[in-house]
Amino acid sequence: MITIGIFAEDKPGVLYKIADIFLKRKINIESLTVSKTERKGISRFTITVNTDKETVEKISKQLYRIIEVVKVFEAEDKELVYSELAFLKISATNPLKRREIEDLVELYNGKVVFVDKDSILVQKVGREEEIDSMLNLLKPYGIKEVVRTGRIAVLKSEEKLKGKFEKILPSPSYVAKLELSAIKALEHAGRNIKGSISLAQGTPDFLTPNFIKDSAKKAMEKSLTDKYTSGYGIDELRKAIAEKVRRDNKIKADYKNVMVTHGATEALIATFMGVFNPKDEVIVITPDYASHITQISLARYGGRPVFVSMEEKEGEWVLNLEKLESAVNHKTKGILICNPSNPTGKVFSREELKGIADIALRHNLFIITDEIYEYFVFGGKEHISIASFEEVADRTISIFGVSKAYAMTGWRIGYIVADERVLKEVFKVHDALVNCPAVVSQYAALSAIKSGPEVPKKFAKEYERRRKIVVEELSKTDKIVLPKMEGAYYAFPKIKDVEDDYEFAFRVLERAKVAVVPGSAFGKGGGGHVRISYCKSEEELREGLRRLVEYVENNRRMSNYK
């Protein structure tokens, strides 16, 4: 007897196709069981046949031809732990015989599971031979009915299951369809490559200023950080934030409009979950930060956002307002803008923001902003918060943070500024997610925000200098086209002749040892581009860019960068 184990996608018709392969070779199936496995969407077939090993090998190869089949193994009994379940209904009209039957059942470790006036129902779990021999002994009493499940079997060694599921993603829910951000994937891949330089992740190389750390320490010493605070954050911080947004963002906010969050990331996901229903549509102006896309998909139970891509015109990213408006329909409920934009480095102009505001007003939409890079604008550009336009102040949810402004990415503090009626709803999600933001970080953020815009402005100067380096280095090749960089600290150039930027990014990492993020990760319009973070030290930045330029130059003639 040979046992064949088959793992296959749980789809209609698979059994039919499997059975057909045995039929074609006229092989009788001795037993067959099918059931769910530890993986959602994958079932396991256990089939036993009485034929030679060679034939079984051929059969299992053909089983692989069935598109839905993932893994097949063949095993002899000695390689398996196996068993089946049988129900035997024995005639027992004579009460004297009952006792004998029960003894026999006992002997075989069976179980009497039901008795009536003329029969006994026995349940037996065991190997086929055990069941057969028990059956033989019971025969004289009169067998009325036998039901057997057929064999189920487990391999003793894992060896034959190698590679079983390596091609299958875990799929507990729609979450499995979401991608882990390409930024993280590359950062991760980069770590495994010796001597590689990462221009992938946007973590500034600055350290948190000491005065901020000191105030955190002080708060700890005073035991201010030992207990939960209000989920909205401590009042002093909320007030400082309100003042900051009135001064720097021209948003007419009171501390009641402020909620402190676990970084801008939490602020965004809480907002999406707080204001959108799964069927609502959210328009995302792309290319856009990949996590936004994931966050919206999560809030929409896996439904994707609706993308409106900007157009690259004469070295500038331009938003086509008509196109934006035409994406609005009765299901649309909000527009997300990242300003200054990650990854394009675009800073939206007053006209563009006005246009967006008008559309939101006309169609009654929320506006959600991610303004984490608010202080980093260059070449005389001005950062405008859309919530400063009074007509849309009530429908705008503005999100900021101290991570980039004060080099505090590790402290995880962000904040939301919004109309109280909206904030109340977002708070419910926030409360469920984090209860309250880490208190020690709140005190650190407090001293940061109270110190005013000097620190971020100093950083901005330094970024502006590095921005020049990017222009300088990338202009050494005509294979890379760099659009204007107005803000944030990202360059988002197009690499000529690159079709598959994912493949390109991985190849650059492998061959040139520099990590950049493939543009496709940022949604529609990002294809063929890569994102470069220039918040790195000058030395690293120059070397990383040099490697990139050298790589594209060396591969000029190879269209797909093999």
């Binding site: 018709g13 057909d20 190869k61 692989y64 598109i67 089949v69 993932v70 091609k167 299958i168 079709e499």
Partner: protein, 589 residues
């Protein structure tokens, strides 16, 4: 023909609609997006919504109306084999779908990428024996690489993308997609639908293209150490587009290479390494050499019984390197010392780095000796016969000369098929198309239609028997309506020749129901408005063939050939290859 390229085929620009559209529209738009430019089909109730949409996209998709669904299937096969793109056909439910079945099975056997869309009754009544309902999924499950029933419009893009991916990737094959009528009527928003990503959405099916490096190294060593190697060139060489690689391989290693039926034209016949055509009616040299070889290098072929003869006696002295993209083919019929799962082109590229040139004078000497024997004993009398009646072989050879070996030859099934394979001197890669695995009579005429549509600039000549011709003769209507300059040569022996040959040799000449009373092919063609001519005597043959090749119109040429001629050499079924017969005399001993 380049597979990687055809897979990467960029979607044609087609703006995505944000307003709801019908499933039928979506089917057509998805086809266009997937690069489909030609559909062979036949309408009917259950597919009418899609047909209605087709009318709006006639600038992007060329629909060719056949005369019978089997014709659509074979035409799609011809199209696919010439272009390397999946052939697409579209038919209605019930009889439409069952008429297509032969062609689907044919494509399965010959690894032809094909996507067949069949209409189906509305999902609500599936399973109730509704009018024109057939369980198409059940019927085609054993003869498709994959099949699927679409019951709602939102599945359309995902499933069609998956279908095309499966059809062309790995070992190509036919995919049947059954679309219920309600799904064709349903309205959906195109931009909201899910798309298929082969990396993520196909957990189980992941074809392997790259060979295992260690196996390649081993193969290289075997080749370098071999004194009498023989490469067996199969369909895989053509499918993978290894046009350059195969020649480089044979030349660099200095190895003779023989072609299977579907491997023909992979190597030009005048190439010094070309050893000939393998199998039952193949050339003498490669069959004899197989038995003497110390190494067989099987490239994208599957050791069909028509190639191996008696398995137990096959290649007794040879080690075997077997390269195929389908793992199920390895060790299926012939045990391989070095099995390699890979795309042949990729494998050859890898192998090229490991092989060294080696003189094999004696081995090539032997090959030429065997060729001489066949020339003397078989070929001469076939192409320049002494008797009056015309032989199939001389017709084929004349066509070969007139077209300089560069036409696409589409053969039907029978004696004429073997003769075409043997006597046409192929000089152009991927120029021989025929039904191999199934041996489907009736394949020739419709497949030639598909081949012509795919490569309109190149001559497509169908070589068919009087029996097979009549199985799909109605497609003359398609040729006429499309004004396709397909050339058809009917080699008329008034017999089901191949069967008659077997009756003569193995059934004591008892001709049981193999004689045919034929129509007047010339008049028949004429009734469709197709130019036609009949040749009965050798003196008229050249002129007629020249006229046929010269015209830029559909043309049917009937050549009345010797009635009871036989194809030789022959390895009778179940005989070892070295017992190949050069004439019927051999049978007596």
């Amino acid at each position: 023909m380049n597979k990687a390229k055809s897979e990467k085929r960029k979607a044609k620009k087609l703006e995505v609609r944000t307003k709801p559209i019908t499933g039928a529209d979506l089917v057509v738009r998805t086809l266009i997006r997937l690069g489909v430019d030609t559909v062979f089909g036949y309408p009917g109730g259950a597919i009418m919504p899609v047909y209605d949409s087709l009318l709006d996209y006639t600038d992007k998709i060329n629909h060719i109306l056949v005369r019978h669904e089997q014709g659509a299937g074979h035409a799609a096969e011809g199209y696919a084999r010439v272009s390397g793109k999946p052939g697409v056909c579209m038919v209605t439910s019930g009889p439409g779908a069952t008429n297509l079945v032969t062609a689907v099975a044919d494509a399965m056997m010959d690894s032809v990428p094909m996507v067949c869309l069949t209409g189906q009754v509305p999902a609500q009544v599936v399973g109730t024996d509704a009018f024109q309902e057939t369980d198409v999924i059940g019927v085609t499950a054993p003869i498709t690489k994959w099949n699927f029933q679409i019951t709602s419009a939102e599945e359309i893009p995902f499933v069609l993308e998956k279908a095309f991916y499966i059809a062309v990737s790995g070992r190509p094959g036919p995919v049947v997609i059954d679309i219920t009528k309600n799904a064709q009527f349903e309205e959906v928003e195109e931009d909201k639908l899910q798309h298929f990503d082969p990396k993520k959405d196909s957990p189980s099916y992941q074809p392997i293209y790259e060979p295992n490096k260690r196996q390649i190294k081993l193969a290289g060593e075997l080749i370098n150490n071999s004194e009498r190697p023989l490469a067996l060139i199969g369909h895989g060489v053509i499918i993978s587009g290894a046009q350059k690689e195969i020649l480089e391989f044979l030349e660099k290693a200095n190895i003779p290479g023989a072609c299977t039926l579907h491997g023909l034209s992979a190597v030009p016949v005048d190439h010094p390494c070309y050893a000939g055509f393998l199998g039952m009616h193949g050339n003498y040299a490669p069959n004899m050499m197989t038995q003497e070889a110390d190494l067989l290098i099987a490239l994208g072929m599957r050791f069909d019984d028509r190639v191996t003869g008696k398995l137990e006696k096959y290649a007794p002295n040879a080690k075997v390197i077997h390269i195929d993209i389908d793992p199920a083919e390895l060790n299926k019929n012939v045990k391989a010392e070095v099995p390699i799962v890979a795309d042949v082109r990729h494998a050859l590229q890898a192998l090229l780095k490991h092989i060294k040139r080696r003189e094999r004078k004696e081995w090539f000497e032997k090959m030429r000796k065997y060729w001489k024997i066949e020339e003397e004993k078989v070929i001469k009398s076939q192409i320049s016969p002494a008797q009056d009646s015309i032989k199939m072989a001389e017709v084929v050879r004349r066509i070969s000369e007139l077209t300089e070996g560069k036409a696409t030859i589409v053969a039907d099934v029978g004696q004429h098929q073997m003769i075409a394979a043997r006597y046409y001197q192929f000089k152009r890669f991927n120029s021989f198309i025929s039904s191999g695995g199934m041996g489907t009579m009736g394949f020739g005429i419709p497949a030639a239609i598909g081949a012509k549509v795919a490569r309109p600039k190149e001559e497509a000549i169908a070589i068919v028997g009087d029996g097979g011709a009549q199985m799909t003769i109605q497609e003359l209507g398609t040729i006429a309506q499309e004004r396709l300059p397909v050339k058809i040569v009917v080699l008329n022996n008034n017999f089901l020749g191949m069967v008659r040959q077997w009756q003569e040799l193995f059934f004591e000449r008892r001709y049981s129901f193999t004689y045919l009373l034929n129509p007047d092919f010339v008049k028949l063609a004429d009734s469709y408005g197709i130019k036609a001519k009949r040749v009965k005597e050798r003196k008229d043959l050249d002129k007629a063939l020249e006229e046929m090749v010269k015209t830029n119109e559909p043309y049917l040429l009937e050549v009345v050939v010797e009635k009871e001629d036989n194809v030789f050499p022959m390895v009778p079924s179940g005989w070892p290859l070295d017992k190949v017969l050069l004439s019927p005399e051999g049978l007596k001993s």
